[in-house]
Symmetry: C2
Subunit: 472 residues, 2 copies
């Protein structure tokens, strides 16, 4: 991104760093009028980035110089907005909260010091408070909590010319005008017009003819998890969010969706790694410990179960110590295969509403992949480890290849079963309404460890010690 | 998404399933004119979903009934577009390829049978072929490969009225008109106007006054990895993509960005799980095997290294068989902690351009988190496993707690070192230009296993066998 990082190549490209320009501007001794005119040229996101590295004095200059709407735009991009808002005169802060998009205002208010929040709320006008209360009422996993209130509407009985006039009027305070939502005489959502269609329509066309009545929409209390895939598939600039009474409450814009997708996938990614939520660099250490500890404690407990099972085979190990060398190999491999199946299954579950038939085909596919990989790696281990034992441990060839046969077979079995477990457990969790990404990890690890240990030591016991009578 | 799934609640909400409606429409015996008029009401994404479940005969009806532009819109949403395009008359198919957005056309052509591709290309007009060649020239990791050519431009010397007339003209064939890109007399990118500003401007305002010259832009050959975070931060409807000569080649729309974010995070998610790329349900089994095998083979090799090291401690194990029970516990825990650190580090590396100081603070933070978690779990293990051995293995208390002290200490050390390794290795890989998400996993697992094994058996050897003289 050339606006922020320098372009390295030496050609015609202009090397512009907007943030440096803004800092220089703020630090210049130019008159407020000059700074204001120049500052208003920059993108609110760039100004926000600069504010985060400014001194308090420089920030105060920016607060004083920018007009209220520009300041509100900047506050929508600030990460620590509620902290910085406290630096601003309380009256002005309340006005900013009225001007930022309602979902951002709610985020700022939620993060704020309770005293400040109360003070700000008491100074905001009633109309805005009503909107903000609506947002407060949504759970974080409901799509309503992510919508924007920046949208324009039309009544369906207007002429093309009246419609255009109305849109021009609304464009002054709303900049999401690409899609226009049409209401019937009772204010109920009727359909959508794209601004393009309206612009190219002739004056004596009928407005009704350019309304798309089968345009996608979503209800404000739908779960994000349930509707996000469809919202993504439509690939629209904005999709209306309706109340239970089918009134338009807001829109989900493509920009809102980017955030939602980013957050949802970040969460799944974190969960796959055994974190209860996504972390970032600025987070306090105890917060990070708290996010990681639950899974670790659970795994420690489950690890003890595996240890107890390994304990059952102490007698086998004491007769043939060499076999413990390869325990880690088999456990690691079965763990890796399980994680691969888990990751694939979770992504598939997230992407699609699976029918029973498709679920079965997914399970079968994972089994086949596990079987193929198991056959390949099992054979590789049989030959490789057999040679390794014969050469480096100086065992007779029969002993070496008997042991490596057990390892290869255990590997094959462990891999097939791990693929199965890694597929079935998340499907079952999904079915009983538990988040598969967070719950599957520990259980799969434990089940796979147990299977691998029992197969490996069991096989060695029966085949090598009982049948072949090989001991060390 | 109510347009697809049924709404479950029993209230005023309208239960509409657009796809069922479309299928019923296609299967009805209505005249082509009626079906066409009704079909044009639906969203191209919904029609695409229906096409994927239709019979060939029904598809042929849709191909025949829809006009070319609508058909092109639908093809932009089809997953197996190149396959379905073969069902269409070759002349008509070439025309569709001209009408779909150039980046989608390239995707369809890349997936297509080489013979068909050649035939289609030979029938397309030269202007379109030129655009398509531009897209073919981008690598998959360059932002140019993701841009859309659906955008509108203006020359900067126009009056407001002339500008508006030009936009109305362009709106007929382009529907991304929210941001208008302004060119100087040589066609070089000059700045951006938002359609809002243009609409609310008065006829005698100056066009120059509403041009934002510090609007973000991106060069077509920038790496997606390098610019995606900035593109996301701007949260804009569209951002211009420039050539080396600063001409506007295309735009990255918010919808394009959703796809990019989804793909990028999907890839990282897959890599974290040890897959070389994201998989889906429809993929052939051998393709899945190929994606998973490399990591598994590598891990098998590295696992053998760990096995060799465990082999060095055979003597310790033969003297105190009980200790092998807890090997899996310590290896699993160190693996889990390493994965957590890896996941956090990769996300942080992806989100931010880290300075040396910030990298150090990340490493320190991970060490502290590892130390705290290690202390907690180490103590827990010391007490818990001590009691477990004393009660279930009927060992004397001294033996039990000596062993559990070794386990606790080994756990503490392994967790601290795993946190470190899980942080430093991805940072180093990033620095030397290797993708940290794909390369870190195997190395971290192996290093952590080695550290854990050496610490655990080493401690047992020195403390229990050499100092305390405890054997089984």
């Amino acid at each position: 991104m050339t606006s922020v990082n320098e372009v390295l190549k030496d050609n015609d490209k202009v090397k512009i760093n907007y943030q440096d320009e803004i800092i220089a501007l703020v630090r210049s001794k130019s008159s407020p009028k000059v700074v204001k005119d120049k500052l208003s040229e920059y993108h609110a996101s760039d100004i926000a980035d600069v504010i985060e590295v400014c001194t308090l004095k420089e920030r105060e200059l920016i607060y004083r110089i920018l007009d209220m709407q520009s300041l509100a735009d900047v506050f929508e991009y600030l990460e620590n907005a509620s902290e910085l808002l406290e630096e601003i005169d309380i009256q002005k802060a309340a006005r900013i909260l009225e001007l930022v998009d309602a979902d951002d205002a709610v985020d700022i208010l939620k993060d704020a010091d309770p005293k400040m929040r109360k003070a700000w709320l008491s100074l905001m006008n009633k109309e805005h408070l009503k909107t903000i209360n609506v947002f407060y009422s949504y759970e974080e996993d409901e799509i309503g909590s992510r919508m924007s209130t920046n949208f324009v509407t039309l009544y369906c009985n207007l002429s093309i010319k009246e419609a255009m006039t109305s849109i021009i009027k609304q464009a002054k305070s709303h900049d999401n005008i690409s899609n226009i939502f049409v209401l019937d005489e009772n204010g109920v959502y009727y359909g959508t017009i794209s601004l393009n269609e309206l612009i190219i329509a002739r004056e004596n066309d009928e407005l009704l003819d350019i309304i798309s009545t089968s345009y996608p929409y979503v209800y404000s209390d739908e779960k994000i998890d349930d509707c996000i895939e469809n919202l993504k598939d439509y690939s629209e600039k904005s999709i209306p969010v309706l109340s239970d009474e089918n009134k338009v409450l807001g829109v989900i814009t493509a920009q809102d969706l980017i955030e939602v997708v980013d957050d949802e996938m970040g969460e799944d990614y974190a969960k796959l790694a055994g974190l209860t939520a996504e972390e970032d660099l600025k987070e306090p250490i105890f917060e990070s410990v708290r996010k990681r500890l639950p899974w670790l404690v659970l795994l420690l407990g489950l690890g003890l179960v595996v240890s107890s099972v390994v304990g059952l085979f102490e007698a086998v190990v004491s007769q043939l110590t060499m076999i413990i060398c390869f325990q880690s190999l088999i456990l690691d491999m079965s763990g890796n295969v399980g994680t691969q199946s888990l990751a694939v299954t979770i992504r598939v579950l997230m992407d699609a509403q699976l029918t029973g038939k498709k679920q079965l085909s997914l399970i079968l596919k994972e089994m086949k992949v596990g079987l193929l990989n198991g056959l390949l790696l099992g054979s590789l281990s049989f030959v490789g480890i057999g040679l390794y034992i014969a050469l480096f441990k100086h065992s007779p060839a029969v002993t070496a290849f008997s042991i490596s046969a057990c390892i290869g077979t255990a590997l094959l079995l462990a891999m097939v079963i791990s693929s199965l477990v890694g597929t079935i457990i998340p499907i079952v969790f999904k079915k009983i309404g538990v988040d598969p990404a967070v719950a599957s990890g520990p259980l799969i690890t434990t089940v796979n460890d147990l299977v691998a240990v029992v197969t490996y030591y069991g096989l060695t016991w029966i085949f090598i010690i009982d049948i072949m009578h090989i001991t060390c």
